[in-house]
Amino acid sequence: MGVDKPRTSLPLFDEGGRSYEHPLYDKLLSMPGLSVGVAPLDRLLTWGLTNSLWVFPMATSCCGIELMAAAASRVDLDRMGTFYRGTPRQGDVMVVAGTITVKMAPRVKRLWEQMPEPKWAIAMGSCAISGDFYRDLYPVVPGIDTFLPVDVYIPGCPPNPESLMAGLLELAAKIRSEQGKPLTAPVQKTGGLVATKPSIARIGDPERDPSLSDQQMEAASRAAESPVARPAEELEMPPVPETAPGTVAAPPTFAPELVELFQAHGVVDFPKDAPPVVPLARHVALARALVERGYKQLVYVVASHWLAGKGRSGNVAGGPEHHEVAYGLRTVGPKRGAEGGSKLAWWSVRVEAGGAAPTLAHVIAGADWQEREQWDLVGVRFSGHPDLRRLMMPDDWSGHPLRKDYPADAHTAPWR
């Protein structure tokens, strides 16, 4: 017996156009009086759900610490039936606590998709809500509701554990308000509590005025320039306190016993307020000599990018576009009276555009990651590096964000 009449089933969930169709299910739906029968069951389910909201913590940064504190002794979310589960399969609520970056966002979305229905999402803290003050920066997603349906927003930086508790209660109230709706209808999540959404159009918004970014940039640069324009007599310099026996934050001074060593490696000028510049050809030999003299701890590798005509004052002022890479090494040893203690040796090299600095990774192993980071962010190349890959940005990222010609709010992210 052929059945030709079209099915009248409602989609249980609609993923990619597929809806749940099952003959037995259709039969159940057509039974008269079933909705009356399952109504108490619906109430039971809602009661159970609202009293055991298991949280899948998507904790990335500071808010994650408050998320932990909420589960710990003082606030103790367990008494609300809220329990943290480390796997998306067992979670009801995803609490996104912290900044979500473009590198992390696809993972968050994937974890969200792995959570079984019914599920809810909470945006905890300013970063998850709007991106906070990172929102217009190149790697940050300006709010998780750009790619996730959020039910409850908990403002704060970070919100107290008590605020998190209030947010969970708010969510329970929302779930109760959805009680009694047909079981077959998929929960259409729009944007959650729209009222708390920031009113500024995001960079990705089609309504956003494209000139807004430029205006923000201009405002930022005006703010940075304004104190320069003020005449010197208007500056209110704070008086030096009389009780101060001496400045505490001592800037690194150049160790006198190193002068000879540096001169032997081609250094002619020792500026007071900047590291001496070492010729590229002698740079690795100098590092080796320093390590032999006890400067064994790698402290930093700092690259900076200078456009044509710019440059630090002193021996290398201005000139063509270049990078300057500063290195710091430390001695270790206990200080006994005036003897011993930790001394810092610093120097820098100048790398012309298109050139490369010889790597120190073979001299001091820690330079590996530091140089990778500087290549990734500032774009200075290191020749002979064993593993020059990006460290911070995704592998498919284009450009080096800390270069001075890189736009401050770049539109390169796929979310924007």
Partner: protein, 396 residues
């Protein structure tokens, strides 16, 4: 295979896995970026021969927020609330590190009382940070179903007392924004010192409980003893600092060896250990808890009267003028040497031309390709936890 790998002193981080002779096919396991033991968002690709790790490739950057770019368009006084979000377990010391660099650059002096306050805050922050670490570390080892939750609850109980005290002075549980160029913003409230002393007495009286629940526990010792051994020379080369370095037998602490704040006025006893394993790191941190309690009492007793900042604290960009100069200042935070490298670009700019943070956790994580090979997968969780990484600081 296992014996052979454990004998290697310094594994090759650039090992080509095609060259590895394994009994069976190697398995690639992605640990993270979302994993409870990664303390945030961090991924390691582990190449496994059975349960033994042959090669480990860490991938940081999942929390890279571009802060150094942001700092280039903020004025010097606007930076403090930004750096709070780096080491969010110890924001006090993050603030101190950046403000001290600016003080060195702008040649601003700090009154003695402010230096004492900073020392007190730094030591209390170290206690709070180490307590959080101890709690989460045992949680990593024991898991929610083992005994790990107990110590986690105890440590957080004590940590809350310190957060309450900070909240009383600064108004915030964390992200204090209490330091400024040339001093502090908030002076102590009446009766605060007495509350701190009773909190210190409380924590000190409970330290023996932590010890019996952590490294006197047999299971804890089995999970940590001899696990993740880091050689002192390698640690120095990788730039590791703080408790991890001291647990590897290197007697180095900037509080004593390059004194800042008011540390030149007291004698700082530095805890060290020689084993370099996860157990030694635990012992060093617990010893540091004792030492910090002692130092807080010392600083409170010697707290001088006087101004907490230079009469008129620097609040506006117009109050200073910076021409050129480069400055690096590093201080000892709970995780090691946190430094700030500032380049002023000239022309009297109110913002730094380039700002670089030297994050101790990044250096700690760079040991993983050396420490993990030869360890088992379960050791990986213990090793990662013992390094105490804070991803906000690693990725910035």
């Amino acid at each position: 295979m296992e014996v052979a790998l454990r004998k290697i002193q310094r594994p090759d981080p650039y090992l080509d896995i095609a060259d590895v002779e394994a009994d069976a096919e190697l398995m690639l396991l992605h640990l993270g970026p979302q994993h409870p033991s990664t303390h945030g968002v961090f991924r390691i690709d582990l190449y496994l021969d059975g349960e033994i790790i042959v090669k480990a490739v860490p991938f940081p950057g999942y929390l890279h927020r571009g802060v150094e770019k942001l700092c280039e368009r903020l004025t010097f006084v606007q930076q403090t609330p930004v750096v709070d979000k780096h080491d969010y377990v110890a924001p006090m010391t993050s603030e101190q590190a950046i403000n001290m660099a600016f003080e060195a650059l702008l040649k601003v002096e700090v009154p003695r009382r402010a230096r004492y306050l900073r020392s007190i805050f730094a030591e209390m922050q170290r206690i709070a940070s180490h307590l959080l670490w101890l709690g989460t570390f045992t949680l990593d080892l024991g898991g929610a179903m083992g005994g790990g939750t107990t110590l986690f609850m105890h440590c957080f109980r004590e940590r809350e007392t310190i957060l309450d005290l900070f909240e009383e002075v600064t108004g915030a549980r964390f992200h204090y924004n209490t330091h400024t160029i040339g001093g502090n913003r908030h002076d102590l409230t009446a009766g605060w010192a007495a509350k701190v002393k009773s909190a210190m007495d409380l924590i000190e009286s409970r330290l023996s409980e932590y010890v019996s629940m952590s490294y006197e526990n047999r299971i804890f010792r089995q999970r940590t003893s001899g696990v993740g051994v880091l050689d002192g020379a390698l640690a120095l080369e990788l730039g590791v600092s703080g408790p991890i370095l001291r647990a590897s037998g290197v007697d180095h602490d900037l509080r004593r060896d390059a004194p800042f704040h008011a540390y030149d006025e007291v004698e700082v006893k530095v805890a060290t250990a020689t084993e370099g394993d996860c157990l030694a790191r635990t012992k060093v941190r617990v010893e540091e808890l004792r030492e910090s309690i002692r130092l807080v009492r010392l600083f409170l007793d010697g707290l001088p009267e006087g101004p907490i900042n230079g009469g008129k604290p620097i609040k506006l960009a117009g109050q200073y003028k910076v021409n050129t100069g480069q400055v690096y200042v590093g201080i000892e935070t709970p995780r090691g040497e946190l430094g700030t490298y500032v380049i002023a670009g000239g022309e009297g700019g109110a913002s730094p031309y380039r700002l670089k943070f030297r994050a101790p956790s990044l250096h700690a994580l760079s040991t993983l390709p050396y420490v993990l090979p030869g360890a088992t997968l379960s050791d990986c969780v213990a090793i990662l936890g013992s390094l105490d990484p804070i991803m906000g600081e690693v990725d910035r």
